[in-house]
């Protein structure tokens, strides 16, 4: 056998260049765009769509006009600069009306109030959203609702302060009685004491202090609210109120107590079964029947309450999904450790169930924020329909439609997209399983 062997290579050959079809851009194109007849067709169609969109949008954006007083003037400028038949965006409308989109008809010299309330909101949210901040900041979060209310609506500083004192009363009564009467009874008494404070003492006390020490801001009426100010006020309030309410409803739906379960199921299914618009009409038309005669409270507040109910029902279902996904052993382990119901929920069940339901909760929040535009139908000035209608009914801007909707839509997109990205980040951060 060995004598047949004529040549044995004893050196390694240098590696060859890969064939041109298997390297660099060509390989990427072949694999990702043209890997088969169907893919090639899809890519070509995709390119055609992109080209068509670009050919329509890019000139339109390039021919933008920022300085004009009316749509007609915009078109004249475009025709003069780029020739007859050219199309262009007329952002002059946004330049003239941006403040209405952001603040509605809020008095111009008081824009600092909603603006500071908006930025303080992030300070208040920070300790909730990121847990590596000083824990003391949570006190600011607790005070923030009263502060924001005072900044936005104005009036005497003492009404929100006295209202917040109601919580102090509740906490005080609870801690005083807790050792003597136990948790459930003292919590009930604390709640009754606080309710008494709010219903009976609050009004006279606030006006008494105000007459001695008048500190306050000019008050602003609810019908002057509008634009994204209104959306954010309704959205943020309803979001923060609907989470605890949804949590309670979900627990009620899972409860062993027949009556509690029936009431929760009835509430959730009713709210989820009807469109939000009918609930908003309930706020504007029907509450006058259901409330005692002569009560007439703020339309924004009424809308917030019903939007909160609406969101709470959806969140309850999301959390119920999280609770159902939890293995039975977790509940049994909590029982075996001798924890009572609330301890088990707080320490074992909720941290896991809430983690599972984060994506659902955030998408309910996004849906809720988008749904705040529907308040236009009960006469409030939402950015999409309310303000855009005001702009479009101005003789100067009659016939403009792409620009206002694009502008409002882009802001909505940024907020909602940001929320969904935050939820993805949170999901990754809280992920504890090993995959």
């Amino acid at each position: 056998m060995t004598d047949q062997l004529t040549f044995v290579r004893n050196q390694m050959l240098p590696p060859q260049e890969p064939p041109i079809r298997e390297a660099g851009v060509v390989k990427w194109l072949r694999e990702n765009l043209f890997s088969g007849p169907l893919n090639t067709i899809l890519s070509v169609v995709g390119f055609a769509i992109i080209l068509w969109l670009a050919a329509n949008i890019i000139p339109w954006l390039l021919h933008s006009v920022w300085n004009a007083n009316s749509l007609g003037e915009c078109r004249q400028i475009i025709a003069a600069t780029w020739g007859e038949g050219a199309t262009g965006a007329c952002w002059a409308m946004v330049r003239e009306r941006w403040h209405q989109y952001l603040f509605g008809f809020y008095p111009m010299d008081m824009y600092w109030r909603p603006t500071s309330a908006f930025f303080l909101m992030f300070v208040a949210l920070a300790p909730v959203l990121y847990n590596n901040l000083p824990r003391k900041m949570i006190w600011f979060t607790a005070v923030y609702p009263a502060l924001a209310f005072w900044l936005l609506w104005g009036g005497s500083v003492w009404s929100p302060v006295v209202a917040m004192l109601g919580f102090v009363v509740m906490g005080g009564v609870f801690t005083l009685l807790k050792d003597r009467l136990g948790v459930p009874l003292s919590a009930g008494i604390g709640f009754v004491a606080a309710a008494f404070w709010w219903l009976v003492l609050q009004g006279p006390l606030a006006s008494a202090i105000h007459s001695v020490l008048p500190i306050g801001l000019t008050s602003v009426d609810s019908d002057q609210f509008g634009g994204f100010l209104l959306s954010i006020v309704i959205g943020v309030t309803a979001i923060s109120a609907s989470l605890p309410m949804g949590l309670l409803l979900a627990l009620g739906r899972q409860s062993d107590m027949l009556l509690v379960r029936t009431l929760s199921v009835g509430f959730i299914e009713f709210i989820r079964g009807v469109p939000l618009i009918t609930l908003l009409f309930t706020a504007s038309l029907l509450l006058q029947y259901f409330l005692p005669p002569e009560t007439n409270f703020d339309i924004i507040l009424r809308v917030i309450i019903l939007v909160t109910f609406f969101a709470a029902a959806y969140i309850a279902e999301v959390i119920r999904g999280g609770l159902a996904a939890l293995p039975r052993g977790q509940y049994e382990a909590a029982d075996a450790l001798g924890l009572d119901y609330w301890q088990a929920q707080r320490l074992i069940v909720m941290p896991q169930a809430l983690k599972i339901s984060i994506p659902g909760i955030v998408s309910s929040f996004i849906g809720l924020f988008k749904d705040t535009t529907l308040v236009a139908f009960v006469g409030l000035m939402d950015p999409l329909k309310g303000i855009t209608q005001v702009v479009r009914s101005d003789i100067n801007w009659k016939g403009i439609y792409w620009e206002p909707y694009l502008f409002a839509g882009a802001i909505f997109f940024l907020i909602c997209f940001g929320m969904s990205r935050y939820s993805m980040w949170l999901e990754r951060k809280l992920k504890t399983d090993h995959r």
Binding site: V274, I277, T278, F281, L286, G399
Partner: protein
């Protein structure tokens, strides 16, 4: 256990109602019941007082009274002499029409987009991601308003379609021309499409208050019968295949069974299309689709399709790779892997959220208010409410109807879930 039995029975104290877990739940339920009854009686009492103060009664008698207003899209016969009840039915049918067509378009579009988002084609999957993110993160009201505005403001007026003698002489073309071989005209007023008509039609079927188009009925019956025949043919082919191992060729028989009877019926009835014609001021003939209907349905389907795409994508991704690898190991071809292995499992994940999207779309049709489409809210909750002043009754009735639709859909969903549930242990 023995400890509990050792407790003497006469040691019941009042405080045990709060502290003993055996009695606590009863205490809580009694308190909840009392509070709930108090709340309910407070509501009812307020309502009675308020109704009395406004000198109104609570009755549904107004439903039998003459409505007195016109509706621009009626699926069943209606004049302004009809009752408010009939008007509400018209509204309900318009709501359902928009919902059904919207769901159909959204499903087709959503499935295509969802599958394409998973495609290996880089460009197409990015395009689809952009579509999904843009449509999901902007309020649906924007899409409805934008499409309504574009349809009514960026389209040519009927006059733009006119061709005059002078224009022919000068060799000018009209400003706008009809699409698809002069069959579809989009104007500021609406979209005119050809109408299917029959020459030798059957008489209408009068069943009490309901009048049925018997041509449509005959068409549906024949189509249903041929589809049933097709199913029988396929079942027969399957039996032959299982007995002999050879599947008989069925495609031309299937085609004949499905197409021929329907075609014969259409020819027998003298089926033809009526094209819209430009008359003095507007297009006449054919079917005129209202812009409000088109805008609402298209916007809702585009919006919902983005959600459905995500559901389909999640459903397909939820099937572990092991399933398709196992199918490949068994020698099943890729196409059959999809239809026999992946899809049946993915459908179990996809269908429940899909139906809840249908539910959302149906509820969102109430946004018709933005484009003045005469849906249930436009008739019963709109003009009827304003004319009769029966706010409480109209709103309660409207909520009740929406609730019935929702509960029906979710009952169907629960039935489906039970049917496809994995039976473990």
């Amino acid at each position: 256990m023995s400890l509990v039995q050792d407790v003497p029975k006469d040691s019941f104290r009042l405080s045990m109602l709060v502290y003993d877990t055996r009695y606590r739940s009863i205490t809580i339920q009694v308190i909840v019941l009392i509070l709930f009854m108090l709340f309910l009686s407070w509501l009812v009492n307020n309502t009675i007082q308020n109704l009395a103060a406004k000198d109104r009664t609570f009755d549904f008698g107004f439903l039998g009274m003459r409505a007195g207003y016109d509706i621009n899209q009626t699926l069943i016969s209606y004049t302004n002499d009809s009752t408010h009840f009939r008007a509400a039915m018209i509204g309900l049918l318009n709501t359902l029409l928009s919902a059904v067509i919207g769901c159909a378009i959204a499903t087709v579009l959503g499935v295509i987009v969802g599958v394409l988002r998973l495609s290996k084609n880089w460009l197409v999957s990015r395009l689809m991601t952009v579509y999904v993110e843009v449509f999901r993160n902007v309020p649906v009201l924007l899409w409805i308003l934008l499409s309504a505005t574009i349809l009514s403001e960026a389209t040519p007026t009927p006059a733009d379609y006119r061709v005059t003698e002078a224009m022919i002489a000068a060799g000018e073309a009209p400003k706008a021309s009809m699409l698809l071989d002069d069959s579809v005209a989009i104007t500021t007023r609406g979209i005119n499409i050809p109408a299917p008509l029959v020459e030798r039609g059957l008489p209408r079927l009068e069943l009490g208050p309901i009048s049925i188009n018997s041509n449509m009925l005959a068409f549906l019956i024949v189509l249903g019968a041929s589809l049933y025949g097709w199913q029988m043919l396929r079942a027969h082919a399957k039996r032959v295949q299982e007995a002999t191992g050879v599947r008989p060729t069925t495609w031309w028989k299937s085609l004949a069974i499905v197409v021929l009877p329907t075609l014969a019926l259409l020819i027998a009835m003298g089926f033809h299309l009526e094209y819209p014609q430009l008359t003095r001021f507007n297009f006449n003939g054919g079917i005129e689709l209202l812009h409000s209907f088109t805008a609402l349905t298209v916007a809702l389907s585009l919006y919902t399709a983005a959600f459905i795409a995500e559901i389909v994508r999640a459903g397909i991704m939820a099937i572990s790779r092991g399933q398709s690898e196992a199918a490949a190991a068994l020698g099943i071809r890729p196409g059959r892997t999809m239809s026999l292995v992946i899809l049946p499992q993915a459908l179990r994940v996809i269908v429940p959220p899909l139906i809840s999207q249908y539910l959302n779309l149906t509820k969102n049709t109430s946004l018709a208010i933005a484009v003045s489409y005469m849906d249930l809210r436009g008739t019963l909750g709109g003009i009827t409410l304003n004319q009769t002043g029966k706010e409480l009754e109209c709103m309660l009735l409207m909520m009740g109807i929406y609730l019935c639709i929702s509960l029906t859909i979710s009952a169907l969903m629960n039935a489906f879930n039970r049917a496809v549930k994995l039976k473990e242990r």
